[in-house]
Subunit: 142 residues, 2 copies
Amino acid sequence: MDALEAIRGRGLRLTPQRRLVYAALEEHVGHATADQLCSAISLKVPGFQRTTVYRTLDLLVELGLARRVQLGHASAYEAVRDGSDLHQHLVCEVCGSTTDIRVPQLLEGVRTATAQIGFDLEQVELVGHGRCRPCASARSLA
Amino acid sequence: MDALEAIRGRGLRLTPQRRLVYAALEEHVGHATADQLCSAISLKVPGFQRTTVYRTLDLLVELGLARRVQLGHASAYEAVRDGSDLHQHLVCEVCGSTTDIRVPQLLEGVRTATAQIGFDLEQVELVGHGRCRPCASARSLA
DNA sequence: TTATATGCAAAGCCTTTGCAGAATT
DNA sequence: AATTCTGCAAAGGCTTTGCATATAA
Protein backbone atom coordinates (compact mmCIF):
# COMPACT_ATOMS: atom_id res chain seq x y z
CA MET A 1 0.00 0.00 0.00
CA ASP A 2 3.02 2.22 0.34
CA ALA A 3 3.28 2.53 -3.39
CA LEU A 4 0.02 4.39 -3.48
CA GLU A 5 1.50 7.21 -1.48
CA ALA A 6 3.04 8.25 -4.76
CA ILE A 7 -0.41 9.53 -5.59
CA ARG A 8 -0.35 11.99 -2.73
CA GLY A 9 3.17 12.87 -3.71
CA ARG A 10 1.70 14.23 -6.88
CA GLY A 11 -0.71 16.39 -5.00
CA LEU A 12 -3.55 14.07 -5.91
CA ARG A 13 -5.99 12.29 -3.65
CA LEU A 14 -5.79 8.83 -2.24
CA THR A 15 -9.40 7.76 -2.43
CA PRO A 16 -11.02 4.46 -1.47
CA GLN A 17 -11.70 3.80 -5.15
CA ARG A 18 -8.07 4.15 -6.07
CA ARG A 19 -7.09 1.79 -3.29
CA LEU A 20 -9.62 -0.72 -4.51
CA VAL A 21 -8.39 -0.65 -8.08
CA TYR A 22 -4.78 -1.02 -7.05
CA ALA A 23 -5.62 -3.83 -4.64
CA ALA A 24 -7.60 -5.66 -7.31
CA LEU A 25 -4.71 -5.32 -9.70
CA GLU A 26 -2.26 -6.72 -7.18
CA GLU A 27 -4.50 -9.63 -6.28
CA HIS A 28 -5.20 -10.56 -9.85
CA VAL A 29 -3.01 -13.31 -11.22
CA GLY A 30 -1.52 -12.39 -14.55
CA HIS A 31 -3.02 -9.61 -16.63
CA ALA A 32 -6.37 -8.07 -15.96
CA THR A 33 -8.62 -6.10 -18.23
CA ALA A 34 -10.38 -3.02 -16.93
CA ASP A 35 -13.59 -4.97 -17.09
CA GLN A 36 -12.25 -7.87 -15.08
CA LEU A 37 -11.04 -5.53 -12.39
CA CYS A 38 -14.36 -3.75 -12.31
CA SER A 39 -16.21 -7.03 -11.94
CA ALA A 40 -13.93 -8.16 -9.17
CA ILE A 41 -14.37 -4.94 -7.25
CA SER A 42 -18.11 -4.95 -7.85
CA LEU A 43 -18.38 -8.11 -5.76
CA LYS A 44 -17.49 -6.04 -2.72
CA VAL A 45 -18.74 -2.69 -3.87
CA PRO A 46 -21.81 -3.17 -6.03
CA GLY A 47 -22.13 -0.60 -8.77
CA PHE A 48 -18.45 0.26 -8.93
CA GLN A 49 -17.89 2.21 -12.11
CA ARG A 50 -15.84 1.10 -15.06
CA THR A 51 -15.12 4.76 -15.70
CA THR A 52 -13.35 4.98 -12.38
CA VAL A 53 -11.32 1.89 -13.16
CA TYR A 54 -10.16 3.36 -16.44
CA ARG A 55 -9.27 6.68 -14.92
CA THR A 56 -7.39 5.05 -12.09
CA LEU A 57 -5.51 2.69 -14.37
CA ASP A 58 -4.37 5.61 -16.47
CA LEU A 59 -3.07 7.24 -13.37
CA LEU A 60 -1.31 4.12 -12.11
CA VAL A 61 0.37 3.65 -15.46
CA GLU A 62 1.51 7.24 -15.45
CA LEU A 63 2.96 6.82 -11.98
CA GLY A 64 4.71 3.63 -13.00
CA LEU A 65 2.67 1.50 -10.60
CA ALA A 66 1.00 -0.44 -13.38
CA ARG A 67 1.93 -1.53 -16.84
CA ARG A 68 -0.39 -1.52 -19.82
CA VAL A 69 -0.18 -4.33 -22.33
CA GLN A 70 -1.91 -4.25 -25.65
CA LEU A 71 -3.25 -7.75 -26.22
CA GLY A 72 -5.40 -7.75 -29.31
CA HIS A 73 -7.77 -4.82 -29.33
CA ALA A 74 -8.17 -4.51 -25.63
CA SER A 75 -5.71 -3.35 -23.03
CA ALA A 76 -4.63 -5.50 -20.12
CA TYR A 77 -2.90 -4.28 -17.02
CA GLU A 78 -0.58 -5.70 -14.42
CA ALA A 79 0.87 -4.35 -11.22
CA VAL A 80 4.51 -3.37 -11.33
CA ARG A 81 6.21 -5.23 -8.51
CA ASP A 82 9.46 -4.32 -6.85
CA GLY A 83 12.57 -5.44 -8.65
CA SER A 84 12.45 -5.01 -12.37
CA ASP A 85 10.32 -7.94 -13.41
CA LEU A 86 10.52 -7.03 -17.05
CA HIS A 87 8.83 -9.67 -19.09
CA GLN A 88 7.00 -10.06 -22.35
CA HIS A 89 3.84 -11.85 -23.39
CA LEU A 90 2.82 -14.80 -25.49
CA VAL A 91 -0.73 -15.17 -26.69
CA CYS A 92 -2.12 -18.51 -27.75
CA GLU A 93 -4.16 -18.15 -30.91
CA VAL A 94 -6.14 -21.25 -30.09
CA CYS A 95 -7.22 -20.88 -26.48
CA GLY A 96 -6.42 -17.22 -25.93
CA SER A 97 -4.28 -17.83 -22.87
CA THR A 98 -1.33 -15.57 -22.17
CA THR A 99 2.06 -16.59 -20.86
CA ASP A 100 4.95 -14.53 -19.58
CA ILE A 101 8.45 -14.92 -20.95
CA ARG A 102 11.73 -13.26 -20.33
CA VAL A 103 13.94 -12.55 -23.31
CA PRO A 104 17.52 -11.91 -22.17
CA GLN A 105 19.25 -8.99 -23.85
CA LEU A 106 16.00 -7.89 -25.43
CA LEU A 107 16.26 -4.42 -24.00
CA GLU A 108 19.91 -4.10 -24.96
CA GLY A 109 19.16 -5.11 -28.52
CA VAL A 110 16.36 -2.61 -28.85
CA ARG A 111 18.38 0.13 -27.21
CA THR A 112 21.19 -0.38 -29.65
CA ALA A 113 18.81 -0.11 -32.58
CA THR A 114 17.03 2.95 -31.25
CA ALA A 115 20.20 4.73 -30.21
CA GLN A 116 21.40 4.62 -33.81
CA ILE A 117 18.48 6.67 -34.99
CA GLY A 118 18.26 8.98 -32.01
CA PHE A 119 14.99 7.60 -30.71
CA ASP A 120 14.61 8.12 -26.99
CA LEU A 121 13.26 4.77 -25.84
CA GLU A 122 11.04 4.59 -22.79
CA GLN A 123 9.30 1.28 -23.01
CA VAL A 124 9.41 -1.94 -24.96
CA GLU A 125 6.44 -4.16 -25.47
CA LEU A 126 6.73 -7.49 -27.18
CA VAL A 127 3.88 -9.86 -27.94
CA GLY A 128 4.40 -13.26 -29.45
CA HIS A 129 1.61 -15.15 -31.18
CA GLY A 130 1.38 -18.89 -31.70
CA ARG A 131 0.21 -21.93 -29.81
CA CYS A 132 0.78 -22.68 -26.16
CA ARG A 133 2.15 -26.09 -25.27
CA PRO A 134 -1.16 -27.80 -24.57
CA CYS A 135 -2.71 -26.48 -27.78
CA ALA A 136 0.38 -27.30 -29.79
CA SER A 137 0.32 -30.87 -28.48
CA ALA A 138 -3.35 -31.25 -29.24
CA ARG A 139 -2.67 -30.14 -32.75
CA SER A 140 0.23 -32.49 -33.43
CA LEU A 141 -1.96 -35.40 -32.38
CA ALA A 142 -4.64 -34.52 -34.90
CA MET B 1 -0.46 -8.95 -58.43
CA ASP B 2 0.70 -12.55 -58.53
CA ALA B 3 0.47 -12.76 -54.81
CA LEU B 4 -3.27 -12.36 -55.00
CA GLU B 5 -3.60 -15.61 -56.86
CA ALA B 6 -3.20 -17.17 -53.45
CA ILE B 7 -6.78 -16.15 -52.90
CA ARG B 8 -7.98 -18.31 -55.75
CA GLY B 9 -5.71 -21.05 -54.48
CA ARG B 10 -7.92 -21.12 -51.44
CA GLY B 11 -11.02 -21.55 -53.52
CA LEU B 12 -11.99 -17.97 -52.83
CA ARG B 13 -12.77 -15.24 -55.33
CA LEU B 14 -10.48 -12.60 -56.71
CA THR B 15 -12.78 -9.62 -56.81
CA PRO B 16 -12.08 -6.06 -57.93
CA GLN B 17 -12.51 -4.95 -54.34
CA ARG B 18 -9.85 -7.30 -53.11
CA ARG B 19 -7.48 -6.10 -55.77
CA LEU B 20 -8.14 -2.53 -54.78
CA VAL B 21 -7.44 -3.12 -51.12
CA TYR B 22 -4.23 -4.98 -51.83
CA ALA B 23 -3.10 -2.33 -54.31
CA ALA B 24 -3.82 0.43 -51.82
CA LEU B 25 -1.85 -1.42 -49.20
CA GLU B 26 1.14 -1.82 -51.49
CA GLU B 27 1.09 1.80 -52.56
CA HIS B 28 0.80 3.13 -49.07
CA VAL B 29 4.09 4.16 -47.51
CA GLY B 30 4.52 2.73 -44.05
CA HIS B 31 1.54 1.45 -42.10
CA ALA B 32 -2.00 2.11 -43.08
CA THR B 33 -5.14 1.93 -41.01
CA ALA B 34 -8.27 0.40 -42.47
CA ASP B 35 -9.75 3.83 -42.57
CA GLN B 36 -6.82 5.32 -44.47
CA LEU B 37 -7.02 2.59 -47.04
CA CYS B 38 -10.72 3.08 -47.42
CA SER B 39 -10.29 6.79 -47.94
CA ALA B 40 -7.58 6.24 -50.51
CA ILE B 41 -9.70 3.79 -52.46
CA SER B 42 -12.75 6.00 -52.19
CA LEU B 43 -10.97 8.62 -54.29
CA LYS B 44 -11.25 6.26 -57.22
CA VAL B 45 -14.31 4.35 -56.18
CA PRO B 46 -16.66 6.63 -54.30
CA GLY B 47 -18.60 4.86 -51.59
CA PHE B 48 -16.16 2.04 -51.14
CA GLN B 49 -17.08 0.29 -47.93
CA ARG B 50 -14.98 0.13 -44.82
CA THR B 51 -16.58 -3.21 -44.12
CA THR B 52 -15.03 -4.60 -47.26
CA VAL B 53 -11.65 -3.22 -46.30
CA TYR B 54 -11.79 -4.93 -42.93
CA ARG B 55 -12.91 -8.23 -44.39
CA THR B 56 -10.24 -8.14 -47.05
CA LEU B 57 -7.50 -7.22 -44.61
CA ASP B 58 -8.43 -10.15 -42.42
CA LEU B 59 -8.11 -12.38 -45.42
CA LEU B 60 -4.79 -10.94 -46.50
CA VAL B 61 -3.37 -11.37 -43.02
CA GLU B 62 -4.55 -14.95 -42.95
CA LEU B 63 -2.89 -15.61 -46.28
CA GLY B 64 0.31 -14.00 -45.13
CA LEU B 65 0.06 -11.19 -47.67
CA ALA B 66 -0.34 -8.53 -45.04
CA ARG B 67 0.82 -8.00 -41.50
CA ARG B 68 -1.27 -6.53 -38.74
CA VAL B 69 0.37 -4.26 -36.22
CA GLN B 70 -1.32 -3.20 -33.05
CA LEU B 71 -0.41 0.43 -32.53
CA GLY B 72 -2.35 1.78 -29.61
CA HIS B 73 -5.99 0.81 -29.81
CA ALA B 74 -6.23 0.66 -33.55
CA SER B 75 -4.73 -1.81 -35.98
CA ALA B 76 -2.40 -0.82 -38.79
CA TYR B 77 -1.50 -2.95 -41.75
CA GLU B 78 1.40 -3.26 -44.14
CA ALA B 79 1.98 -5.37 -47.21
CA VAL B 80 4.34 -8.28 -46.78
CA ARG B 81 7.02 -7.89 -49.43
CA ASP B 82 9.22 -10.59 -50.81
CA GLY B 83 12.31 -11.32 -48.80
CA SER B 84 11.70 -11.34 -45.10
CA ASP B 85 11.61 -7.68 -44.27
CA LEU B 86 11.00 -8.37 -40.64
CA HIS B 87 11.01 -5.17 -38.71
CA GLN B 88 9.53 -3.71 -35.58
CA HIS B 89 7.91 -0.41 -34.74
CA LEU B 90 8.62 2.63 -32.66
CA VAL B 91 5.87 5.00 -31.72
CA CYS B 92 6.58 8.57 -30.67
CA GLU B 93 4.48 9.51 -27.68
CA VAL B 94 4.71 13.17 -28.56
CA CYS B 95 3.89 13.41 -32.25
CA GLY B 96 2.46 9.95 -32.82
CA SER B 97 4.78 9.13 -35.70
CA THR B 98 5.93 5.57 -36.24
CA THR B 99 9.37 4.42 -37.30
CA ASP B 100 10.62 1.04 -38.41
CA ILE B 101 13.60 -0.59 -36.77
CA ARG B 102 15.36 -3.85 -37.19
CA VAL B 103 16.55 -5.64 -34.09
CA PRO B 104 19.18 -8.24 -34.97
CA GLN B 105 18.79 -11.58 -33.25
CA LEU B 106 15.41 -10.59 -31.93
CA LEU B 107 13.72 -13.61 -33.42
CA GLU B 108 16.45 -15.95 -32.22
CA GLY B 109 16.17 -14.60 -28.71
CA VAL B 110 12.44 -15.02 -28.61
CA ARG B 111 12.61 -18.48 -30.16
CA THR B 112 15.03 -19.61 -27.52
CA ALA B 113 12.73 -18.41 -24.78
CA THR B 114 9.60 -19.93 -26.29
CA ALA B 115 11.24 -23.23 -27.15
CA GLN B 116 12.03 -23.73 -23.47
CA ILE B 117 8.37 -23.71 -22.55
CA GLY B 118 7.08 -25.55 -25.59
CA PHE B 119 5.30 -22.56 -27.09
CA ASP B 120 4.95 -22.85 -30.84
CA LEU B 121 5.85 -19.34 -31.99
CA GLU B 122 4.37 -17.99 -35.19
CA GLN B 123 4.83 -14.27 -35.01
CA VAL B 124 6.63 -11.66 -33.00
CA GLU B 125 5.46 -8.14 -32.64
CA LEU B 126 7.49 -5.52 -30.85
CA VAL B 127 6.46 -1.95 -30.25
CA GLY B 128 8.74 0.57 -28.64
CA HIS B 129 7.45 3.76 -27.07
CA GLY B 130 9.36 6.94 -26.48
CA ARG B 131 10.30 10.09 -28.37
CA CYS B 132 11.46 10.29 -31.94
CA ARG B 133 14.61 12.25 -32.68
CA PRO B 134 12.92 15.54 -33.58
CA CYS B 135 10.68 15.43 -30.53
CA ALA B 136 13.53 14.36 -28.27
CA SER B 137 15.64 17.30 -29.50
CA ALA B 138 12.81 19.72 -28.99
CA ARG B 139 12.48 18.49 -25.45
CA SER B 140 16.13 18.75 -24.52
CA LEU B 141 16.10 22.36 -25.64
CA ALA B 142 13.25 23.24 -23.35
C1' DT C 1 -25.69 -22.44 -61.56
C1' DT C 2 -24.05 -22.14 -57.07
C1' DA C 3 -21.44 -20.68 -53.55
C1' DT C 4 -19.07 -16.63 -52.23
C1' DA C 5 -18.60 -11.50 -51.73
C1' DT C 6 -20.33 -6.93 -51.37
C1' DG C 7 -23.17 -3.08 -49.72
C1' DC C 8 -25.68 -1.25 -46.36
C1' DA C 9 -27.43 -0.72 -41.88
C1' DA C 10 -27.08 -1.83 -37.41
C1' DA C 11 -25.04 -3.45 -33.46
C1' DG C 12 -20.90 -4.44 -30.46
C1' DC C 13 -16.84 -3.78 -27.90
C1' DC C 14 -13.72 -0.86 -25.37
C1' DT C 15 -12.82 3.59 -23.95
C1' DT C 16 -13.35 8.57 -23.22
C1' DT C 17 -15.83 12.80 -22.00
C1' DG C 18 -19.05 16.23 -19.65
C1' DC C 19 -21.12 17.63 -15.80
C1' DA C 20 -23.20 17.88 -11.16
C1' DG C 21 -22.75 16.25 -6.73
C1' DA C 22 -19.59 14.07 -3.27
C1' DA C 23 -15.35 13.64 -0.94
C1' DT C 24 -10.32 14.52 0.19
C1' DT C 25 -6.97 17.57 1.85
C1' DA D 1 -13.02 26.03 1.93
C1' DA D 2 -11.03 24.74 -2.25
C1' DT D 3 -9.89 21.48 -5.46
C1' DT D 4 -10.09 17.07 -6.93
C1' DC D 5 -12.71 12.86 -7.63
C1' DT D 6 -16.71 9.91 -8.51
C1' DG D 7 -20.99 8.39 -10.54
C1' DC D 8 -23.85 8.52 -14.12
C1' DA D 9 -25.15 9.11 -18.76
C1' DA D 10 -23.88 9.78 -23.11
C1' DA D 11 -20.97 9.82 -26.93
C1' DG D 12 -16.89 8.24 -29.54
C1' DG D 13 -13.69 5.30 -32.06
C1' DC D 14 -12.83 1.02 -34.29
C1' DT D 15 -14.58 -3.30 -35.74
C1' DT D 16 -17.91 -6.99 -36.54
C1' DT D 17 -22.32 -9.03 -37.94
C1' DG D 18 -26.79 -9.99 -40.51
C1' DC D 19 -29.09 -10.16 -44.46
C1' DA D 20 -30.49 -9.32 -49.24
C1' DT D 21 -28.45 -8.51 -53.60
C1' DA D 22 -24.81 -8.90 -56.83
C1' DT D 23 -21.03 -11.50 -58.76
C1' DA D 24 -17.05 -14.71 -59.65
C1' DA D 25 -16.18 -19.22 -61.06
